[in-house]
């Protein structure tokens, strides 16, 4: 914030407006998928890295538009905690996560079918109360952990989840959603975010189904419906 010396008024900048990622998003964010090699290290292919603890999993799905058709040119970004429920941090140097664990990745589709899939590890519960950002320095927060009574008001941790950000041609501003796990029913039942969703029948749109096992890894199915029947819950974060 800059203060205008003439009248002491705070002066804020305004966020740059979003624009669609367009049909050729892969050129910039996944050039290999666009059909050429340019960078030595294309980012986002390995979410968890080789040293991550926890259960290796595979997640598969499809993004479906309002006509029921697959969105074949979608790009999804994943952001997740490790098996201990810890996110990589900018603020705190030092390895609090496993060497090579980025917790972030990019997912692109099979251009012919719109199906996508990625490998990662199942994240742990994230301690919503202790880590819920309140804008307050640690000391105050720890002595008055619930002073603001936020989304975490019931003091339950957030159930294991992946944060997803979806961009594509025709999507004017990236869509934020979350993927939870159907074999975490107990944690899901007290998850502060799922419980924020007034319409209980819509909560199911955020829960991936354990559809089987492959190569010793559980496979979860998570279809995302942009519009219409069973429209996925999207968040204003």
């Amino acid at each position: 914030m800059v203060v205008d010396a003439r009248n002491n008024a705070p002066h804020y900048l305004r966020e740059s407006a979003s624009q669609t990622a367009g049909p050729y998003v892969h050129i910039g964010l996944a050039p290999g998928a666009a059909g050429f090699k340019i960078f030595d290290n294309e980012l986002g292919w390995d979410i968890a890295g080789p040293n991550a603890k926890g259960q290796r999993i595979r997640v598969e799905g499809c993004v479906i538009d309002g006509t029921g058709s697959p969105v074949k040119d979608v790009l999804i970004e994943v952001w997740q905690a490790n098996a201990d429920g810890t996110y990589v941090r900018h603020e705190e140097g030092g390895a609090r996560v496993e060497e090579g664990f980025r917790g972030w990745g990019r997912v692109i589709t099979d251009f012919e079918t719109g199906e996508w899939g990625f490998d990662t590890i199942k994240p742990g519960k994230v301690n919503a109360r202790a880590k819920m950002a309140s804008g307050v320095a640690g000391k105050v927060r720890d002595t008055h952990p619930d002073w603001q009574g936020r989304a975490d008001e019931n003091h339950a941790p957030m159930a294991p989840h992946l944060n997803l950000w979806i961009v594509a041609r025709g999507i004017n501003i990236g869509l934020n959603t979350r993927m939870y796990f159907d074999d975490e029913a107990e944690a899901n039942a007290t998850d502060p975010v799922l419980n924020l969703i007034e319409w209980e029948n819509r909560r199911a749109t955020l829960i991936a189904k354990h559809s089987g096992d492959r190569d010793g890894m559980p496979v979860y199915r998570f279809d995302i419906r942009l519009q219409g029947d069973n429209e996925t819950v999207f968040f204003d974060v």
Binding site: A21, A34, I171, F234
Partner: protein, 241 residues
Amino acid sequence: MMHPAEYYQRDRRIHPPALTPDYKTSVARSPRLALISLQGSVSETTGPVFGHGDLNPIDNDLIKNYAKDGDPVGERIIVHGRVLDENARPVPNTLVEIWQANAGGRYRHKKDTYLAPIDPNFGGCGRTITDADGHYFFRTVKPGAYPWRNWVNNWRPAHIHVSVFGHAFCQRLITQLYFEGDPLIPHCPIVQTIPDPDAIDRLTAKLDLNATVPLDSIAYRFDIVLRGRRSTMFENRMEGN
């Protein structure tokens, strides 16, 4: 231990709504139900970290980063600016990625079939990490306008797609850079999804004569603003901005 502060709520009035019928593809790809507002948790106030080890120094030079037997065809330009937050603070060490058509308006993408030719020396993407002052720069060629299927005869103004991370997943942004004076801007249904004319102007890079390289490259200035963090007065210190 410090915890990441929350961010100002996103002012959705400066962003395009999901449903913008003049941009036809949005019609079937736009949620119809309201977004659920979520108080920022650690899942939103943290975000991936990138370092110089992830990139090569040449990655921000689109004139050289795919050159095979010479420089790409087109008007040589520098695009530079700062990544700032709503508090007007620089956003250092954040990843900025761009992609664009070549000077003829053709993308190097297996799904682009426009009749303008591929440039053998132009890939069309670059990336960099902002410095301590939030500054970034790219060298490239000015992209050409190109036609697209929406109405019978729509043309995109010259533009560069820009992806920025910030330090929190809730700051994630993809936008497009336009060029000052382009007569196609008011005619483009994608640009015009933005309801606020000032917001469109802020996506329009301005000629920056002082940053040109004489006898070599013309320059445009483009600042990017990401969401800002709230501060708190607790413990007599400002946190987060």
